[in-house]
Symmetry: C2
Subunit: 209 residues, 2 copies
DNA sequence: GGTTTTATCAAACAATTGTTTAGTTTTGCT
DNA sequence: AGCAAAACTAAACAATTGTTTGATAAAACC
């Protein structure tokens, strides 16, 4: 296997462990076992356990910004259409990378790794700035209301999706969805969340279809 | 100091540390130092570090169920009035106990302590059952729409509030609220969140005031 | 094909972990 | 006051932590 693939494979294994045990509780021996490599390889490849975590975040957050940028600059989509696509993309991404978004959530609480916190801060500011542009575009066309709290709106999107992912077991138990196959559940949740968030964003933006 | 007060004092100190460093990264020596007691006291009082965490959850989650129960059984409040009070109570509680709700969030992700997971599962099911009754009451009176996803609705409440608390610094930075005193910020966020959630719950429940 | 660089490994490293021990002080009760 | 129970402490405990070492194997290069 190539070195790059091996590094990725270790990151995948680490991600799996971090998501269920947390960063601190996952030992480098756990990670090495999960990945099937010698434990010295983690220091050898990444420098340290902390830096491996930073590599994981870099790896997973690439392209997040670019995609939104491309979407918003598209002239052929109406403002609320862009909102719908943004919601759809975000939901898809979280559902397909549940482990990482769980780690992300914990890291935002702990704020332990300054390097990661810095990355997240910049990404959030850029994201908020881009969404602000989108809202302004809608306001100029008189289809979005004035005085939209963009960070509150974005937090609404991330908060609801994250909460459902964390609460997945409880959601299934309460709604008798426990027999569903994993892919079916993903589809179900995606549909449910998208519909829910679309309605909420109509309210937030004062948009009437 | 009485034993009970001392136990509470240790729990307060532990809560503070857990919220910023996480459970695993907070050592019993950290906790003992923060509380100003000998590190052997933690095992002496609580049995172990894990059981201290369970004590913390028991201590903090007392009365949560009772309060909602009393609210919902009150005959003199209209259904959406109850929803408003429920939202207000929840927001208040999270804002006043930010540290605990951060720990709670991480614990839901990690699912490390089975005893705590059991407690949370039961509380969530009871909470969902109670809210279901409230929704039914509103539906019977034809003021709430049919087919309300109660767990999704509750996750909307918890998700948004939690996300804002986690993102507090970013929210303040983006909205130039960094000069605000802590109490003023709490009031501001409370007002903002309550207004936001009321509107969203109107949409969710199909309620028109 | 020989040599240098890279990759891999088992073992050892010092530091830190949660918990226990064994002894001392304080408290509560008669 | 006398004594048993509870509260408290410093020191020691074994186990586990992330990282480094020194040696060997593989790969790359000329």
């Amino acid at each position: 296997m190539e070195v790059k693939d091996k590094k990725k494979h270790i990151l995948d294994s680490a991600e799996k462990l971090f998501a269920v045990k947390g960063f601190e509780a996952s030992t480098v021996r756990d990670i090495a076992d999960e990945a099937g490599v010698n434990l010295a390889m983690i220091s050898y490849y990444f420098g340290s356990k902390d830096k491996m975590m930073e590599s994981l975040f870099q790896e997973r957050m690439i392209n997040t910004k670019l995609k939104v940028q491309q979407l918003l600059s598209n002239e052929h989509i109406a403002p609320f259409g862009k909102v719908e696509i943004m919601l759809d993309d975000y939901i898809k991404k979280v559902i397909e990378n549940q482990s990482f978004y769980k780690i992300l959530l914990c890291e935002q609480v702990m704020k332990k790794n300054p390097e990661i916190i810095k990355m997240l801060r910049e990404l959030k500011l850029e994201y908020a700035a881009m969404f602000t542009e989108l809202v302004k575009e809608g306001q100029k066309k008189k289809i979005f209301k004035k005085n939209v709290d963009v960070v509150l709106a974005l937090s609404t999107m991330t908060g609801i999706v994250t909460q459902i992912i964390i609460n997945k077991e409880h959601y299934c138990e309460f709604n008798n969805l426990e027999g569903l196959a994993d892919d079916d559940l993903k589809n179900y949740l995606h549909k449910k969340l998208l519909d829910h968030l679309k309605n909420i964003f109509k309210t937030i933006l004062g948009y009437e279809s």
